[in-house]
């Protein structure tokens, strides 16, 4: 399969069988494996100036013209040699300081020596990548903020977590990585189905999916009030498939643009998914005009049966998930979505056991201020904390260490806290946090009874 990354295209076939972290050089179409350590480029020109008082920017210091350089490239000359040529033909190079020479070489190398490294997917890699490439898809959740969420939420093996996210499945994937297949996760989803484009990039083994459940957000109210029934599914499977398919397509697009982190297993996996999606699509079409096309009738019947089976399975899973939620003993709640956090929190916290952490992410501070106030009014939570992290990267080189020139302007805000047993009946007059029962619905009383 052909893949495009950073204006280069290549095939991954040659990369199979190498260990993660191997660096490759791109030739015309395939991959070539150069040595891990390219010997220090021999720039014996140890001559260097001390300052730039005599360097004038006349635009004529580079003696090679654009056409010359293009000619070199067309001849398929190694990038390393082009860089060497550029240096030799630069009149000012010798007058530059040693540091400036270093910088010059680095810049040219970046342009002419195309190397790619194939690494294993992880939360570190994927969250850094998403933040750099597709911040809009993950609500501008910066990777250090995600790290805080995992810690504040005490995410670990054996827990029963509730996750509500619209971050392409990145947060879900991060939680799954930390749980290592132990315990269970219930993903609450809006619309027709959960989005897991980023999750599939992790390449989790199949057993990890066994304890991954999903539940439609639009059914939460009925579940809380006890009127939940499985007869009315939130959406027809068709919608669901379409959503998934769309996501998969997006994913493959992503693959093509962000190969930096892709690995061969993943690609084949994605390819398989696409095939599946295509199959489903044709199936849908078939189901729609099932009346005509005699020769396809038999096939259609099978498809309909298959569809019914899938629907039935979905319903069965939904019942299981509803039962898990009804126990109201989840070990934590993680929210990172494009929705207003307050209603999500007020409802979803009902499913969490006492003395468990919860974390809400929001790109903006103001909704969390409101959420903070509403949670105080509701009670049943302590140690509420609104926070933000700042991340600063450094350049560390001998005699040239300083913070990097640019840093990220914002990575979102977190509201975290710990659940406690809700006060029964009237609020304690001596209470530290005035527990104003704003909306004493019968719903909540029921919840308390179950909880205690």
């Amino acid at each position: 399969r052909k893949i495009i990354f950073e204006k280069q295209w290549f095939y991954l076939d040659n990369a199979i069988g190498h260990i993660y972290g191997t660096t490759f050089e791109v030739t015309s179409g395939g991959n070539l494996q150069p040595k891990q350590e390219v010997e220090e480029t021999t720039t014996e020109t140890k001559e260097a100036g001390t300052d730039n008082r005599n360097i004038v920017d006349d635009g004529k210091s580079q003696k090679l013209t654009h056409d010359d350089i293009k000619a070199l490239k067309d001849k398929g000359i190694k990038g390393q040699e082009i860089v060497q040529q550029l240096i030799e033909n630069s009149t000012t190079f010798r007058d530059k300081t040693e540091f400036a020479q270093d910088k010059y070489i680095k810049k040219k190398k970046k342009k002419y020596e195309a190397v790619i490294t194939i690494v294993k997917p992880s939360t570190r890699i994927l969250s850094t990548m998403y933040y750099a490439r597709e911040p809009g898809k993950i609500n501008h959740l910066r990777y250090d903020t995600l790290a805080q969420m995992l810690t504040l939420g005490n995410v670990r093996a054996g827990s029963k977590m509730i996750v509500m996210e619209t971050c392409a499945g990145l947060v879900l994937g991060a939680v799954m990585e930390r749980m290592g297949g132990y315990g269970s996760i219930i993903q609450m989803y809006p619309g027709g189905g959960p989005v897991r484009a980023a999750t599939s990039c992790f390449g989790f083994p199949k057993p990890f999916l066994d304890n991954l459940h999903e539940f439609p957000l639009s059914k939460v109210d009925s579940l809380l009030s006890g009127t939940f029934s499985t007869e009315t599914l939130p959406s027809e499977p068709e919608d669901n498939m379409l959503v998934e398919e769309e996501e998969i397509n997006e994913l493959t697009e992503e693959k093509q643009t962000s190969l930096h982190e892709t690995e061969e297993e993943l690609t084949t996996e994605a390819a398989m998914e696409i095939k599946q999606a295509e199959e489903q699509e044709t199936m849908d079409i078939n189901a729609d005009d099932a009346e005509f096309k005699e020769n396809k009738e038999k096939e259609n019947k099978e498809n309909v049966r298959e569809k019914q089976r899938k629907q039935w399975e979905r319903r069965k899973k939904l019942i299981e998930t509803a039962a898990l939620l009804r126990e109201k003993n989840a070990d934590g709640l993680i929210v990172a979505s494009k929705f207003h956090p307050t209603p999500l929190l007020l409802s979803l916290l009902e499913f969490v056991a006492p003395s468990r952490p919860f974390v809400v992410y929001c790109q903006y501070k103001e909704p969390l201020l409101e959420c903070y106030t509403k949670l105080r009014e509701r009670g049943g939570v302590i140690n509420l904390k609104l926070s933000e992290t700042w991340l600063r990267n450094y350049q560390v080189l001998p005699d040239r260490s300083h913070p990097k020139l640019t840093m990220s302007g914002g990575g979102g805000y977190l509201l975290s806290g710990i659940t406690v047993v809700l006060d029964k009946g009237k609020a304690d007059p001596s209470s530290l946090e005035a527990l104003k029962m704003e909306e004493p619905s019968s719903k909540r009383c029921k919840v308390q009874d179950l909880n205690c």
Binding site: A157, G158, P354, S355, P357, E366, I382, V396, V420
Partner: protein, 306 residues
């Protein structure tokens, strides 16, 4: 209870966190017949704690009350007895993610110090991973061992009492990640490399001073580590407040202006809005930064062995 598994009810021998309110809390070791004094009165473990649910409100003898919380590494970090300077959860979060730790990971750490990071590492690598931690101070090593036993995680951790710069981690080719929080990390980079798996792994070094970072980076480069990256993370905490700002009286010209501009936006204005402009205020919610915040803990330098 355990630091690596949630339990519902408080049992004899548990470590629990007593939450007094406003970030004030402390750990207790739950024991039959023991009492704990708080500013709200006495807590009798046998009757007030044992058998109760975690997260319950416990009424003390003077009528005041506290919440009893299930221990987590984060709560422990806020409450542990300091034997050294410790790492806090903000740095720990980034370390854990950047070292790519997960259940099953094998981690080497030095020094153990007060065990703040150790508990977080154990939580993350459990139930199949392991932590090898090296502490050259004998008393601290002993104390850490005791704590791990008390917290029922001793099967996931090995404490070694030796000098990591001279003798290394006592293991080789088994670690997925190495963490160094020692005064001269550059002297331990070689040992770190040999502790890491042959197929590679991640390393992190925590240093407060840039000179230490400088030397560490050089040593990492020398030993062939790649992807060397130094960063710093700062936590900003906000207090949620309702602020009211008075509207200045600018005389008659401003009168018309402010009565149209602000009254509609804030119906909860005290006094009748149109009559008393002198008293006019605008209220809003704000996240106010704390007056003082942690400005620097340390630089975190990460690298990959491949």
């Amino acid at each position: 209870m355990s630091f690596i598994e949630y339990g519902d009810t408080i049992k004899d021998g548990d470590t629990a966190i007593v939450f007094l309110g406003h970030e004030s809390m402390f750990p207790v070791k739950v024991q039959h017949g023991t009492v704990t004094q708080t500013k709200y009165g006495v807590i009798r473990h046998s009757t007030d704690l044992i058998g109760k649910k975690y997260g319950s409100k416990v009424t003390c003898s003077k009528g005041g009350w506290v919440f009893i919380l299930h221990p987590t590494p984060e709560l422990w970090t806020m409450n542990l007895p300091h034997r050294t300077q410790i790492l806090y959860s903000t740095d720990i979060s980034v370390i854990t993610m950047m070292l790519e730790l997960k259940p099953g990971s094998i981690v080497c750490e030095s020094g153990t110090g007060s065990g703040s990071l150790s508990h977080a590492l154990i939580r993350t690598v459990a139930p199949t991973g392991h932590l090898y931690t090296v502490e050259f101070h004998q008393q601290r090593a002993e104390k850490a061992r005791e704590e791990f036993r008390e917290h029922r995680v001793e099967h996931l951790v090995t404490v070694t009492n030796q000098d990591v710069c001279k003798n290394g981690f006592g293991v080789s080719n088994i670690a997925d990640a190495v963490f160094l929080d020692i005064p001269s990390p550059w002297e331990a980079i070689g040992h770190a490399k040999s502790a890491l798996k042959a197929e590679g792994g991640r390393i992190c070094s925590f240093s407060p001073c840039i000179e230490q970072v400088q030397r560490t980076c050089l040593a990492m480069e020398e030993y062939g580590f790649t992807e060397i990256n130094t960063l710093e993370i700062l936590l900003r905490v906000y207090n949620v407040r309702t602020i009211s700002l008075q509207i200045p009286d600018l005389g008659k010209a401003a009168e018309a202006n402010s009565s149209t501009g602000f009254d509609s936006s804030d119906p909860s204005n005290q006094g009748s809005p149109s009559a008393n402009l002198q008293q006019g205020t605008v209220q809003f919610k704000s996240g106010v930064p704390l007056r003082e915040m942690v400005g620097h803990t340390g630089y975190l330098t990460f690298a990959t062995k491949s």
